[in-house]
Amino acid sequence: MRLVIKCMLSSLLLTGVLLLPSPAMAEVEFLGLKASGEGEAGGRIFVDRPPKADRAKFEEYRDLSPGVFLERLRLRFESQDESYSLVLGAMDAGREDQRFSLYGSKLGWVTFGFEWDQIPHVFSGTARSPYLQGPRDVFGVPDSLQTTLQGASAAAQPGILQSFLVTAPGVDLQTRWDTARLLLNFTAIPDWDLRAEYAQTMKTGDRAMGMVFGSPGGNLVELPGSIDQTVHDFRVTAGLVREWWQLQLGYNLSIFENDLDALIADNPLRVTDAPLGPTGTSAPAHGRVSLAPDNTAQTVSLTGGLNLPWRSRLTGTFAYGWRSQDQAFLPHTINSAIVNPGLTLPADDLDGDVRTLLANLRFTSRPFRTITLGARYRFYDFDDQTSTLVFPAHVVTDTTLITEAVASSRFPYTKQNAGADVAWRPLTPLSTKVGFEWEQWNRDNDHREAPLTNDYTPKIALDYTPVDWLFLRASYAYSWRRISGYNTFAHLAHTVLEEETLQGEVPQSQSTLLRKYDEADRDRNRADLLLQFAPFDTLTFTPSLSFRDDNYTDSPLGLQDDTSWAVGFDVAWSPTDRISLVASYMREEFDARMRSQFRQPPGQLDNPTFEWVAKNRDSVNTAGAGVDAALIPKKLDFRLAWTFSTARGKMTAFNPVTPSGGTSAQNTSATAMNFPTITDRLNQLEASLKYHITTASYVRFRYIFEKYDITDFRTDDIQPFMGGTDIWLGAQIRDYTAQFFTITLGYRF
């Protein structure tokens, strides 16, 4: 009730202030400048506000708190001759998602701008954690718990943990990105364009991070890991424009800074590090995960455009970039019981050095009115010059010492694209185009399975306007990708030092039947159709259809095929000048089929009955409708907008042949089964009445209804304790229903 009174009083006050002697849209002056602007502010009152635990999806990227709010404000000041201007903007001021902007310009000469934008991101409202966070992302549980669990039997540990986790307090799992942006655009010199932009994004908050002790059977903890990162992005371009040619030089500097190097957490099952056993296994009291390292990237680019005879043009871009990363390495392990000379680090840091080179050429020509020719070539080289480091030993999840050398492989690649097409317009309303595209990936021979892939795509397109109210756009492309060969040793090669006895003597860790879908032979069909009917200026109907089918023709295991299609329409109709109606609908389906095989060394690496097939089908329906009506022209406007989206993810799996030939446990592990369907549905409705008090002021009443439902077996019932000795955050995404009103006053001058 107090809130309602506050909102009403605020509204009345605002009304009084805004309804000062209004010049009814005549010019307003302020300190000798012409002033204009608009603002809208008011209050938000909830009829049904989701409780905090259910609010994550509702306020995922927004702040919709009840109370007074400034929806938007825009003030413009201009010199009398309108050559100078200053524009101040604000949206949702005082809220978590607030945004401000300030732009100034001298017409035709220079523009400068400043923006501040906050983007919240809420992940879940149900997270709970027993961990206490110390400084710099160090998480601890009481020593008494660790002592108790360390001394308890494996059978007793879950019960002890369950009792402890009942009282785990709630934690906020959300982040916020705050971006400050400065820009300067200088166009005073007729043939020059100078532009500079600097943006700084500060990311703070907490998000879920997992840590496992002992892979893969060890216990796991999920933590609200902190984010404290800054991205600096600086860009400057200088362009010179002449009648027949243009040149542009650009530079970009991007710096990523992470104030947190690592996430450290107690292992609840241990208060001390267990001594290293004869098999090289310990049990740690703590774990440590590395976080994203600081890095820097710079790019210099030069772009030129040249207008040639026969209505032709050549455009070229060359860009060279280099990236570096030299953050100091963490030690191999935080487990004090694991000590080995092989754990001496071969270097203090990676000294990461990546160079990129881009060359892009494009030529178009219209030698005749009815013919358009196009050709293009693109070369992108990713040259990872970072040295390979060899680690004589390493520690798996702070638990197990492995005295087997591993080398950090690098994965340079080159990607080339080329294409050509011819468009012919035999008749004014008809245009046809045929073209051909080629794409080649050239990867490292030893460390990627398919060193060379070539993708060929002939295509055809048609644009037809038989009458001025009908437009048809259709295209079809068929492509086939072929690989030069598949190196089934690549997976092993990129983690273990090559040995002379390797091939044929050591079982490969990866099935030789696997073809990774980004490196496999593939045939693709793709078709798109768009129609636009506009029999009257006031009516447009646009149906569309798209289809894509990928067939992985030579993949015994891996992705087999991937098909998707979408059909929908859009309608816009204004039967009178006082009413306009819109409606849209889109149905999409995605089907992916994969094949795999359960493999367990030493004896069950290639049991054909252990093969299994999984099908994933996603179906999405999206609909919308809206009405804009002037109930009383220039006095009372009505608006209604409804959006509906529902998605269904079906995951089935089966074994073509019943698993057999292994132990009972192996046969069971190889048995595939369906997963419960995942569904989500979003319903949004907004209705508003806008009453124009004067030509300059108005009051708007809005009613908003939102309902979100989700069924996801993976998170619906998750709690900090889910059996065993794992600790989860219990971060659910929950259904919500929200209904609220907003009453705002707007003023325009």
Partner: protein, 316 residues
């Protein structure tokens, strides 16, 4: 590069560039650029009638145009003879149109839906001034090759959108005129904050043409994503190759009904490429810790790469 070094570099670079830009511009201006408020020519070229004549009949559009940036420039502060032509700098000479009482359109480009002027010619009018900066790559770009007119997306005569003089109030509505599927994708459960107004299509794309066929602003898919997600850039000690080659191997940035914009839910996404031994190859049960919550990334949380000396399994 240490933090202090980076800050010094930025502190030096930013004002240096800005200062150079302003100095160059200012010094070049001295004696080289005429004052901004250049009066309209009193003698019009043959066949031209002047903006005031156009205003006589087209009063409302004239007033609307006067309120736009182009209108203020052309009608009040032209910088050169072309801009000083006002309406006719884009529409062409209007004398025949005036003398016919408004019935003849010879030599005029109306930019209306029924305008018989070829799209290339209409766009050429805009490109006389706007073929610079972001429009350098326009010719030969996907939109240009499909005969998209500038006026399909922009409205020159009136301010409908807050910025960029778009044909619709927002970018999503403008691009969504043709890209219906992408517009629908924005409503999916897992999405970037476009429908909340925090991002727009041009946060990632430049519809006027770029060096990529998907009209991305960056030099590659990954370079585009790293603009904001620089923590994924590396280089890392232990890389995940499909991550390095393209973020779109696993993610659909326009929207997905799977968490984190993934194309397929985990563990199936990962199992499409991982057929080693044991748990990656197990089809799993719904209640397994390898499936529920965040599935594979419950443990392998450094899936984009790890800088930990013992992080080759991407779980440290």
């Amino acid at each position: 590069m240490r933090n202090a070094g980076r800050r010094i570099l930025l502190a030096a670079l930013i004002p240096t560039f800005l200062g150079v830009a302003i100095l160059v511009g200012s010094s070049a201006l001295q004696g080289q650029v005429k004052p901004a408020a250049e009066p309209a020519p009193t003698v019009l070229p043959r066949g031209f009638v002047g903006a005031e004549t156009c205003k006589t009949c087209h009063t409302e559009p004239f007033e609307q145009f006067s309120a736009t940036t182009m209108g203020k420039l052309f009608l009040k502060h032209p910088r050169n003879a072309k801009e000083a032509l006002g309406c006719e700098s884009c529409h062409g000479p209007g004398q025949a149109h005036v003398e016919s009482g408004g019935t003849a359109f010879d030599g005029l480009i109306t930019f209306a839906k029924q305008d018989p002027t070829p799209v290339e010619q209409r766009n050429g009018v805009c490109l006389q001034c706007h073929e610079r900066a972001a429009r350098l790559h326009w010719q030969g770009s996907p939109h240009e090759l499909r005969d998209l007119a500038c006026t399909n997306c922009h409205r020159v005569m009136t301010n409908i959108s807050e910025r960029s003089q778009l044909a619709k109030p927002t970018e999503i509505e403008t691009c969504g005129q043709c890209h219906l599927e992408r517009r629908a994708q924005l409503m999916r459960s897992s999405h970037m904050p476009l429908r909340e107004g925090k991002m727009t299509c041009t946060s990632c794309h430049d519809p006027h043409g770029t060096v990529t066929d998907k009209l991305l602003k960056g030099n590659s898919v990954n370079d585009n994503c790293y603009t904001c997600h620089a923590e994924k850039r590396g280089p890392f000690l232990w890389e995940h190759p499909p991550v390095m080659e393209s973020c779109s191997n696993c993610h659909d940035p326009h929207g997905s009904n799977h968490e984190k914009l993934l194309k397929v839910f985990k563990p199936r996404l990962c199992q499409q490429c991982h057929v080693e031994t044991r748990h990656p190859t197990t089809p799993q049960t719904p209640g397994s810790r390898f499936v529920f919550n965040r599935s594979c990334t419950n443990c392998h949380n450094r899936v984009h790469g790890s800088n930990h000396p013992s992080g080759q399994l991407l779980n440290r």
